[in-house]
């Protein structure tokens, strides 16, 4: 191989890599804002779904259930605070269950949504079905308790998936509600508006 060849080959490589890099940077520049916007939109939609009558759901702060990053929000309609939304994790059967919980002003559960989980298909994955999520509706912190028997006062377990039911109810949701009570209620509700005005 002569010196001329080496120069030629190197030049060849460099040119192609530079062109490739430029094209990629261009695609990245167009795609990344879209990706970012989509993620934001998806997040807002998920929040909106839990609190349909709110016209603004704003982030209040972060917390770390099970050492994972989670956020919490306040939902407002005009100046009136409708309630709060908190993200929380529950240690389930084979995964941490990522949940989003909406509570009323009096800290009873309004609605929950399961964002992500890897529970057993056919058993534990029923936590994402409406029939189970509805069982948590209207429960306050004292009634977030799983029962294996038929109950409407407490939360009835999914048959055959007590661990997953407990993870959602007694870990994720209860902790989330408890966190809200501790930080927002006992920390003074004034805190919330201060953050976001």
């Amino acid at each position: 191989m002569t010196g001329k060849d080496i120069v030629k080959i190197t030049l060849n490589l460099v040119v192609i890599y530079v062109i490739g890099g430029l094209i990629l940077a261009l695609v990245y520049a167009t795609a990344s804002p879209v990706i970012f916007k989509n993620n934001e939109k998806a997040k807002q939609e998920a929040l909106k779904q839990l609190m349909p009558d709110a016209d603004a759901i704003n982030k209040v702060g972060d917390w770390a259930p099970h050492e994972k990053h989670a956020e919490y929000f306040v939902a407002k309609k005009g100046d009136e605070t409708l309630g709060y939304v908190v993200q929380s994790f529950g240690k389930g059967y084979s995964s941490y269950i990522d949940t989003l919980i909406a509570v009323d002003k009096d800290y009873t559960v309004r609605k929950i949504n399961i964002l992500h989980h890897a529970e057993t298909p056919g058993l534990g994955d029923e936590i994402e079905l409406d029939y189970f999520k509805d069982r948590l509706k209207g429960k306050d912190i004292d009634h977030l308790k799983v029962m294996k028997t038929e109950t409407t006062e407490y939360v009835e377990a999914i048959s055959g998936a007590t661990i997953s039911s407990r993870a959602v109810t007694e870990d994720a949701v209860k902790n989330g509600v408890n966190f809200l009570i501790k930080t927002v209620k006992e920390g003074g509700s004034g805190n919330v508006s201060e953050h976001h005005n």
Partner: protein, 346 residues
């Protein structure tokens, strides 16, 4: 493609069977006979439904095997009793509640039989070549495919003809989810708990509940020399030690090994499933390793895993390792190999 074609030309010429048909069939029917007490106990406790489920498994296993032989044009070997034994074991590993028409779950034993006989046994080249215990694969397939139907346990009932007995949790299910205190609460006191577990008056799969009936069958097999003590003893021993050391709440050495030994499928698994000739190591030393592995994995799953019962998965996982164990042990212990081949030629 070309390469594989060349390969199987070689394979076909190899003569297939380890044991002659006559002895195979005698072993199969003897094991089936040994299972009879446990099966009868199951029918006694869970009623006619238990009988129907078991019969359904046996019939479908035999039919699928026959159909398979016809399809590939082989000489039928249904008469050797291996399909009967697989069906019987499979049936004994199913909950009696499967005999239910609304919701319809009768297809579960039929499909499980197909998986057991055709996929786990015949696809591997038939009896003697299967790597996994067919009945256990059938059950694992059913448990994962229909997790709800496979975990509805009916209360043992004297009402022989009842179609819908009350459902309840198995002792191991209670132990896993609510702890030993609740278990004692349900069964009264410790003695009464032991008695229920020994006789089989408790929820569970049809044929696994009566520890005494299984033990009778197991000892019969041991006496007749169809199985040796190595696997059951190392299996149960390891499980007992682990249950004793780690099974208690809080402190070490406070667990109750007896409850673990006579609940779930431990007895049935140790005497009838883990001892399967084809899917366990053939050398004594290997059998002991195999048994220890089964015991360890069973207790690992029971105490730390997601499932309340681990016998089935433990044996299946050890089935994966059986060829490796055989390889490892054989290449070192020459004496044991000779002993073994001598026995096989007998």
């Amino acid at each position: 493609m070309e390469a594989t074609k060349k390969e199987h030309q070689l394979i076909v010429s190899v003569s297939p069977h380890v044991k002659t048909d006559e002895t195979t069939s005698r072993i199969m029917w003897s094991v089936s006979l040994a299972l009879l007490p446990a099966a009868l106990a199951g029918v006694y406790f869970f009623g006619l439904r238990a009988l129907f489920i078991t019969a359904l498994c046996i019939v479908s296993s035999a039919v699928f095997e026959q159909l398979y032989f016809r399809m590939v044009g082989k000489k039928s070997a249904v008469g050797d009793g291996s399909a009967f034994l697989t069906g019987l074991l499979l049936g004994m590993n199913m909950p009696a509640s499967l005999w239910s028409f609304s919701p319809f779950t009768v297809h579960v034993p039929v499909i499980a039989s197909f998986v057991a006989v055709v996929i786990t046994k015949q696809l591997f080249g038939g009896l003697g070549f299967n790597v996994f215990n067919p009945a256990l694969i059938g059950r694992a397939f059913a448990l994962i495919s229909w997790p709800k139907a496979m975990t509805i346990w009916s209360e043992p009932t004297a009402a022989f003809l009842a179609m819908d007995a009350k459902t309840t949790a198995t002792p191991l299910g209670i132990l896993k989810e609510e702890g030993v205190v609740k278990l004692l609460e349900v069964f009264g006191d410790k003695m009464s708990l032991y008695m229920h577990l020994l006789t089989g008056n408790r929820a569970g799969s049809i044929g696994e509940t009566s520890a005494i009936a299984i033990l009778i069958g197991g000892l019969f097999l041991l006496y007749r020399g169809y199985i040796t003590w190595h696997i059951p003893v190392s299996f149960l021993g390891t499980a007992a030690v682990i249950a004793w050391v780690f099974g208690g709440k809080g402190a070490l050495f406070t667990g109750d090994p007896i409850v673990h030994l006579i609940s779930g499928g431990m007895m049935l698994g140790a005497w009838f499933m883990a001892t399967d000739y084809v899917t366990s190591p053939s050398v004594r030393k290997g059998q002991i390793i195999f048994g220890i592995g089964c015991g360890f994995l069973t207790m690992l799953i029971r105490l730390k895993g997601g499932y309340p019962e681990g016998v089935m998965f433990a044996i299946l996982i050890m089935n994966c390792f059986a060829p490796i164990i055989d390889r490892g042990v054989k290449s070192k212990v020459f004496g044991a190999v000779k002993q073994n081949t001598a026995k096989e030629n007998k």
